[in-house]
Amino acid sequence: MKLVIGHMYPELLNLYGDRGNIITLKRRCEWRGIEAEVKAITVDTNTNFKDIDILFLGGGSDREQKIVSDDLTLKRAKNLKSAIEDGLTLLSICGGYQLLGMYYLSSDGSKLPGIGALEIYTVAGNKRMIDNIIIESSIDGKIFKMVGFENHSGKTFLQKNVKPLGKVIYGNGNNGEDGMEGAIYKNTFGTYLHGPVLPKNPEFTDILIKKALERKYGNCNLTPLDDSFEHLTQDAIINRFVKK
């Protein structure tokens, strides 16, 4: 078995250790004997996403985010939207997550369009939400906690059709108001969790791998791995910030 991991704009969206997500997807495939190939998708790459099994879209600083936003909304919106509708497994983080939505309303009142794949919108906030974050997720009948570090000022709100990735136990989440964090639509996931999110949340990583494998090969079961370090890392944060 083989999965192709598409890494969007690796040289532009390279903030907050998010390349760790790619390393993690690759390793957890390899440890199970699943071949994993990472393909960089840059501004000059043509793709219709048909040859990608897991797509990763991170966040960047303002300047880089602008270049990405132009490339996505002007060149790729149609292809990416139909791939998402078709069940592509996609993980988007922070700025990437916002770009999948309908729009970003900036503080000067202007509306920057997203690609509109997710029925979510983001409003510029006046305070930066920077903190450790702990959430509880329930995906495909599995209930588990996730930990990460959030760093955003945009406040994202979900509309119909889109479920949250989890409930906030500690931290701010999507907007610091409704107690929700992240978004799920079909096999597309959005989140504000850096950290990076995948190494220390192996349950979530394996859901992404499993979804991609099933879309490609039909039903499958993942070989369990020794996740003791992963859980120690997670527990360290949970024990520190959540009062028992």
Binding site: N151, H194, F229
Partner: protein, 453 residues
């Protein structure tokens, strides 16, 4: 002037001494609460030049070298040597060097200033020379993003008197662009040699885009991190013309040497500091002193006299086993430390200590921006102990970098980790790599064990 601030500061310094605390920030912090202008009020009595050094990496070494050179030329220098580079740390060192009436006994000042604190303190210090070393990604969660920091630094520079001198690292595009349209005497320093040790671009490499047209920078040479000789093929912007250029660079185990080209002169420079990145620090300190018209014999004497502060490539022994300690505080610093260890080419036992206190940056995601994979595949690593508040995060990072989980031990207490690592060491070199506040714990441990620093 308001003497209450000084008194408060003096009182807290005494309190720190009595309780055995280091007290490099707290006295200034409390004094600033009483007298917000205390820095300005003391610094105005420093009669000769004030020099400010800022940037992400290298500011402690560069400012230390500058201060040492000025001392060697007979000046009485006030300098925040211990690296407390926020407002509070600068206020503290000024109070320490003043009498209770706020009269300072020094005639020259060298201040290492944290990038984000530049706008708050630059005009109070009113320096003759400002040195900017580089801008890398560092502690982003504290400052928001790099762009904002750079914009604010530029704003504060533009308010300096017109005869101030600005010394910029031309090889780092962000830093060099500070000099664009700035009405000061701007000088650039950089490397004229080829200095590429075959390291690929680090994953922490950033800023490849022209600030004028957004075009992609092309590098003719990469020296270290994102430092190199670059140009924009779209609009033609390129590395500025160098006023100070290093050539004939030689790096050995004993140190570095190079020739510094300035106008029509070639100055031979030698330092016992090692590592390619120190070429920039030494070059900047020499250039700053050339601008201040310090005679060259004094400059070389100062370089010879300089001793790095604890935790920067510090050699020591742990229970009789050879150890090297080096601070790692951001991806580029971590990367260059790993390159240095790779060059040593000996089996290693590593102790990596990562805290996430405020001064460290609370987000440790950056550990994943370091090319540990490359290091692991080229180096014989026998044991690793991870320690500090984020010991587990570091252990997990190493596991995914390809180190066998069985070789990794997690010990949250840094003291216990330092006790433990020599007991599993035979012929290996111990490398202790702490981040900022972890280094304080390492130093305290060494001090309490009477290890000479």
């Amino acid at each position: 002037m308001d003497l209450l601030g000084i008194l408060v500061g003096k009182f807290v310094i005494l309190g720190c001494k009595l309780t055995g605390k280091n007290g490099t920030s707290l006295p200034g912090k409390l004094a600033l609460k009483v007298d917000a202008d205390i820095i300005k009020n003391i610094v105005k009595d420093v009669k000769n030049e004030k020099i400010v050094v800022t940037g992400t990496n290298g500011k402690t070494t560069t400012s230390g070298l500058i201060a040492e050179i000025l001392k060697s030329s007979g000046k009485k220098v006030v300098h925040n040597r211990e690296g407390a580079n926020m407002l509070s740390g600068i206020a503290t060192v000024l109070i320490k060097n003043s009498d209770i009436f706020g009269n300072i006994s020094c005639d020259t000042g060298v201040f290492e200033v944290d990038e984000a604190n530049m706008p708050l303190v630059l005009n109070d210090i009113n320096p003759k020379v400002v040195v900017v070393t580089n801008f890398f990604r560092d502690q982003l969660d504290r400052y928001g993003e790099l762009d904002t920091t750079i914009k604010k630094v530029k704003e504060s520079l533009s308010k300096l008197p017109k005869d101030s001198m600005l010394l910029l690292n031309a090889d780092e595009p962000f830093t060099a662009s500070l000099g664009d349209d700035l009405n000061l005497n701007v000088f650039y320093y950089g490397i004229l040699d080829k200095l590429n040790y075959g390291y690929s671009l680090s994953p922490a490499f950033e800023q490849k885009y022209c600030p004028i047209c957004g075009g992609k920078y092309v590098y003719k040479d990469v020296f270290y991190g994102q430092l190199g000789d670059y140009y924009c093929p779209k609009c033609g912007k390129s590395r500025p013309k160098l006023d100070f250029g290093a050539l004939d660079i030689k790096l050995t185990e004993d140190g570095i040497s190079f020739k510094l080209k300035f106008k029509d002169k070639l100055i031979s420079v030698k330092s016992h500091l090692t590592g390619a990145y120190n070429v920039y620090n030494v070059m900047a300190s020499v250039a700053a002193n050339v601008l201040l018209e310090i005679p060259f014999s004094n400059i070389q004497m100062g370089l010879n006299n300089y001793t790095p502060i604890a935790g920067r490539l510090q050699k020591t022994y742990l229970k009789g086993k050879k150890a090297i300690i080096n601070l790692i505080k951001n991806p580029i610093g971590f990367d260059s430390t790993l390159n240095m260890l790779r060059e040593i080419n000996k089996p290693l036992n590593l102790l990596i200590a990562i805290n996430d206190n405020y001064a460290d940056g609370r987000d440790v995601s950056w550990l994943w921006d370091v090319d540990i994979e490359n290091f692991v595949s080229h180096t014989k690593i026998n044991h690793v102990v991870t320690s500090g508040l984020r010991a587990e995060d570091m252990a997990l990072r190493l596991k995914y970098a390809g180190i066998d989980q069985k070789k990794i031990k997690i010990m949250k207490s840094i003291d216990e980790a330092l006790e433990y690592i020599p007991t599993i060491t035979n012929e290996e070199l111990i490398a202790v790599l702490p981040n900022y506040t972890s280094l304080h714990e390492v130093n305290n441990y060494l001090k309490s064990r009477g290890v000479k620093q």
